[in-house]
């Protein structure tokens, strides 16, 4: 599978996964354990089950870090579905907050990866500093 294709599929999976939150909210608007509640809650569990299988497959196609970093897009889907389906307000703080969260998630999921290069760079810098001292 090409990188682009697996990337597109990842985002289709994430957009569909975000629909499970829509069903959670729909269930919340019904009386608990009523017929409609059971249908909506069943839909939540069904989507999560399909998502779990699809996720396992897609992470074979790309680095896990890439998959987790892109998962933050569900924050945007929540805002879009909220607006379209439940007529929720999109406020400026919500948009700014969402962008900040996505930036933060990127740092979190790439945190481990960059730990080692940081150390290597520090060592190289100290070595370079030592060489400068030697030259003087």
């Amino acid at each position: 599978m090409s990188k682009f294709k697996s990337f597109v599929i990842l985002h289709i999976i994430l957009a569909l996964f975000s629909v499970s939150a829509v069903f959670s909210k729909l269930a919340a608007m019904e009386e608990s354990l009523s017929f409609k509640w059971i249908i909506y809650y069943g839909a939540v569990l069904f989507i999560m089950f399909v998502y779990a299988i699809a996720w396992q497959q897609i992470i074979k196609q790309m680095p896990i870090v890439t998959a987790y970093a892109n998962k933050a897009v569900t924050v945007i889907w929540g805002i879009i579905y909220g607006l379209i389906i439940f007529k929720e307000d999109i406020t400026v703080p919500k948009i700014i907050g969402a962008v900040i969260i996505i930036a933060g998630v990127y740092l979190v999921v790439t945190g481990d990866e960059y730990d080692e290069p940081d150390k290597i760079r520090d060592v190289m810098n100290s070595e370079a500093a030592n060489k400068e001292d030697d030259c003087r």
């Binding site: 900040i100 969260i101 740092l107 945190g111």
Partner: protein, 112 residues
């Protein structure tokens, strides 16, 4: 938006994170056969907790808009990192720590 329901949602994310840590601790263990790898007390308890968490999430949505749910869901990165640090003795790099602070700041800003 009710603060109580925000708390309940964050609680559901927390217990869901706990279930992930239990699954991880189970994955690190050695098993006699494939069946025991999937059907052992840790895995069953983990999925039980996860199932309960989805139930709690639905209850929390009674008091919060849909758009706030996925935002509060990102507290999971914080819980996983903290539980990993204290229980699995996993390190938190400086870059990750900065990221976690930014995520929490973003959550607070979006809920203003």
């Amino acid at each position: 938006m009710s603060p109580l329901h925000v708390f309940i949602y964050v609680f559901s994310v927390f217990i869901s994170s706990v279930s992930q840590i239990i699954l991880k601790s189970s994955a690190d263990m050695k098993y006699d056969n494939k069946l025991k790898e999937y059907l052992n007390p840790r895995v069953i308890i983990a999925y039980g907790i996860f199932f309960f968490a989805t139930f709690v999430t639905v209850y929390a949505y009674k008091g919060i808009p849909l758009s706030v749910g996925p935002i509060l869901e990102t507290t999971g990165y914080l819980w996983i990192s903290l539980l990993g640090y204290f229980i699995l003795k996993e390190k938190i790099s400086r870059r990750k720590l900065i990221g976690l602070v930014i995520v929490v700041a973003g959550i607070i800003i979006s809920c203003l």
